[in-house]
Symmetry: D2
Amino acid sequence: MTGIRVTIWNEFRHEQRDEAVRAVYPDGIHAALAKPLSEAGMQVRSATLDEPDHGLNEAVLNDTDVLVWWGHVAHDEVQDAVVDRVIRRVHEGMGLVVLHSGHFSKVFQRLMGTSCNLRWREEDEKERLFVVDPSHPIAEGLPPYFELPNEETYGEHFDIPVPDEIVLLSWFSGGDVFRSGVTFRRGRGKIFYFRPGHETYPTYHDANVQRVLVNACRWAAPTNGPVPVYGHAPSLEARG
Amino acid sequence: MTGIRVTIWNEFRHEQRDEAVRAVYPDGIHAALAKPLSEAGMQVRSATLDEPDHGLNEAVLNDTDVLVWWGHVAHDEVQDAVVDRVIRRVHEGMGLVVLHSGHFSKVFQRLMGTSCNLRWREEDEKERLFVVDPSHPIAEGLPPYFELPNEETYGEHFDIPVPDEIVLLSWFSGGDVFRSGVTFRRGRGKIFYFRPGHETYPTYHDANVQRVLVNACRWAAPTNGPVPVYGHAPSLEARG
Amino acid sequence: MTGIRVTIWNEFRHEQRDEAVRAVYPDGIHAALAKPLSEAGMQVRSATLDEPDHGLNEAVLNDTDVLVWWGHVAHDEVQDAVVDRVIRRVHEGMGLVVLHSGHFSKVFQRLMGTSCNLRWREEDEKERLFVVDPSHPIAEGLPPYFELPNEETYGEHFDIPVPDEIVLLSWFSGGDVFRSGVTFRRGRGKIFYFRPGHETYPTYHDANVQRVLVNACRWAAPTNGPVPVYGHAPSLEARG
Amino acid sequence: MTGIRVTIWNEFRHEQRDEAVRAVYPDGIHAALAKPLSEAGMQVRSATLDEPDHGLNEAVLNDTDVLVWWGHVAHDEVQDAVVDRVIRRVHEGMGLVVLHSGHFSKVFQRLMGTSCNLRWREEDEKERLFVVDPSHPIAEGLPPYFELPNEETYGEHFDIPVPDEIVLLSWFSGGDVFRSGVTFRRGRGKIFYFRPGHETYPTYHDANVQRVLVNACRWAAPTNGPVPVYGHAPSLEARG
C-alpha cells in the first residue's frame, strides 16, 4: 500500500522577505509541514505561489489525495483558474486541510459561502486547545488539551457555516475563544480547518500540532465511496 | 407591529411562454406565492428577471426581511452584481427561501459552495413529504406527512453541504427519496431550501405547501441578534 | 394571547442553609429566575424539592409549557417517578431549560444518555460568554459577548452528546473554555442547557443572563407541530 | 496488528422457535452477521440472551471493541445490570452497532434518551437505500443506492435525537421513507443504527448490507483519543 499523496501549498512569501520568519522556518513553512507527514508514511510534495500555476496544475491536483493550504498576504494573487481547479477536485473527493490565515483564501471562502472573517491580534498570547470530540479520528493520540506558549490570537465570532463537527476549541490568554478545529463536507471532499500556525512562531514544530496535521490528512483522504450520478434519471420503479 | 417584509423573486418566463403554465399560474408563480404570505400578514412585493436590476436594487433588498427565490431556465441571465448584492444581504441577516429549481441558482450555489446537483425526471409522480423534525418552527401546523399528487421528481444524491437541520423528507412513487426541506445559516442569514414547486403543477395552491412557505418566512426573518465586529481587536484582558 | 406557562423548579436548599446564598437570593433562586420571565409576560410559577411530588404533579406538568431546572446538592433525592413524569412531558413537547449544576440532574442525564460530567472549580474566576450563532433566537438582543465578573468555572470536556446547536461559548480567566449554551431535541421537546448560575454569585440578576433566560423559554415553548403516530401502520399506497 | 474485536449479541429466540426463520438463518442471525466480519479480518465472537449474563460479562465486554446488537421479542428480559455494563463500556469508547428492531432495546433507548418509536408493517415491501453522505467511511464501497427485494417496513417519524450524521435514507414501496443509517456519539463511544434485518428475510446475506456492517464496525472501533478527566480541577493559569 502506498501512502496518502499530500500536496502542501504554501504562499512562501514571508519566509523570503522576513528574517524573523526565516529563522523559524528556514526551508519554508511547507518544509516544516512536510516533515511529520512524511514521517507518517505519506507521499508529500509542495507547491508555492510563485511557481507556474502556483504549482497546482491539473496533473498535480489529479495526483493529490489531500491538499494542505497555507496562505496569508497574497490571497488575491491566486488565480481564479487555479481556485476553480482546486474546488473541482475537492468536489470530486480530494481532501483539504486549511491552515491558520488560509481562512481568508479564495478557496476556503468559496467552499464556505461566508466571509470567513474573525477577530485577531498579534500579542504573543498563550493558546490552549481543548479536545471537545474525543472519539474523532483527528483527536487520536492527543491529550485532553495542549498549549502553544505564543500564537497570534483569533477570536469569535468566526464567520463560517455551522461546522459538521467541532474537534478543538481554543482559549487565549487575552480573553478570547475560538473554534479551532472544525470539519465540513463539500461534494465528496472532506475539509478540515485548523487555526494555529502564525509564521513568526514555531507552531508547526510542536508535536501535538504535528499530530493533528497527520490525523487530519488521514481523515481527509478520499474514500472509495459511491460516485453520485446527476441529471435526468428514469424511474427506478416499473410503471403499471 | 408591521409584518415581515417579503420580496418574492420569480424568473417569470415560463408563465409568459407556456400556455400550460399560465393555466396553473395565470398571474405568475409570484402571485401564487404571495397569496398565503399576504394573508398571514406579511408585506409582500415581487420582483422578476426582466425588470431593471431584476427588480432587486439596493433599496429593495435593504427593505427586505426575507427573499423568496424561484428560477429555472434563466439562472445564467441573473447578473453577478445582483447575485453579489443578494449574498451580501443574506450575510447581513436577510432570510432566503429557495424554491424547487432554484437549487441551481447562482445565489444558492454560491452560498452552499457545492454544485447543488441532483437527479430528476418529469413523470407526474406522487410526492409524499414526511416531517422528521416535528418541533421545528417550519413544521408548525403540518400533519405528520402530506401528499402532492403530481410533481417533478428530485432524487438523491442532492449535492449540498450537510444541512444544519432536516425538516422534511420526500418519498416519490418512482422510487426516489429526497431531503426536501433543509436549513442552512450563512453569516447572520437563515436559508431554507424547499423542494416542491414545478411550474406545470398547482403545488403552490396546496394548503400544506402554503403553510410551509408561511412558516419558512417567519423562521427566516432576521432577529435582533448581535452584529459581530471583525478585524483587529485589542486584548479583552488587562495585561499584567 | 396568554403568556408562555413557565414552571421554575428549584432545589431550594442552599438558600435555606447558607447565609451567603440567602444574601444573594433572599427569596430563593426561583424568585430571581421568575422576575425577568414574568416581566416578559410569561405566566410563571415555581416548584421546589421539599414540596409533595417536588411540586411537579401531573396537573402542574400538564399545565407547563417550559420547565426551568436548578438543582445541585440533592439530585439523588428527586424521586424517579417525578423524573419519569418530566421526561414524558418533554417527549410530548414541553420545553426544558437546564441551568448550571442541573447538568448532573437525573432528568438531564437521562435525556442525554451520557454522564454529563465536566471539570470544575470555585475560584471566583471571570467568565466571558461569546455568541457563536448570532442568528439563533436565543441570541436575540445580546451583544457579541458579555462578562460575569465572578462565577464557578466549568471546563471541557463536557460529556454531552454532540449538541444540535451551540449558541454560546465561555472563556474563563483560569484557563478553561466551555460550551455554555447548547440545544438538544428529544421527542417533540426542545432542551436548552445554560451554564452560568452558581448559588453564591448574583448571576441571575445580570441583564444579559436574564435575556438568555427569556429567549430560551420563548424558544423552548411548544409549537403546534405534528403529533407523530407510532406503531403498526398500513401501507400508504394502494397495492396493485 | 490484530483485528477489531467484535462481539455480536443476538437475542436468538426466533431461530429456535420459528422454522421459517431457521430456514433463513440456520445457525442463528449471529452466525450470518459474523461471516462478513470474520472475512474482513475481525475477531468475532457471539453472545446470546439465554447464556449467563446474556453472554456479556465484564470480561467479555472489556475485551470487545465493537458490540453488534440484534434483539426483537425479548427486550424486557435483558437484565438492567447488563444494560448498565454495556452503556458504561460505550461511554468508555466501545463501539455499538444497533440493528433493526434493536431500536427498541433498553441499551439503545437509554443511550438516546427518546422512545425510539417508529411506524412499521410486515408486507414484503421493497426497500431501496440511498447513500446521502458519500464520503462517510460507512459508505465506502457502496453504490449510490441498493435494494432489498423484501423487508419489513419502518416509516418516519423515527423518534430519535437529531443524528450526528445521516448516511443512508430508505424508500419503501408501500409509501414510506426512513433514516436507515445514522450515527451518534455518547461519551467516547460511537454508535451506528442500521435499519435492515428482519428475521424472516435473507437481508444479512446481502453483499451491500454486509459491506455496511463491515464498514460500521471499522468506523465504530475505539480510537486512541484523549481520556477526559472529570471533577474538581485546579486553575490552568498561575494566579497573579
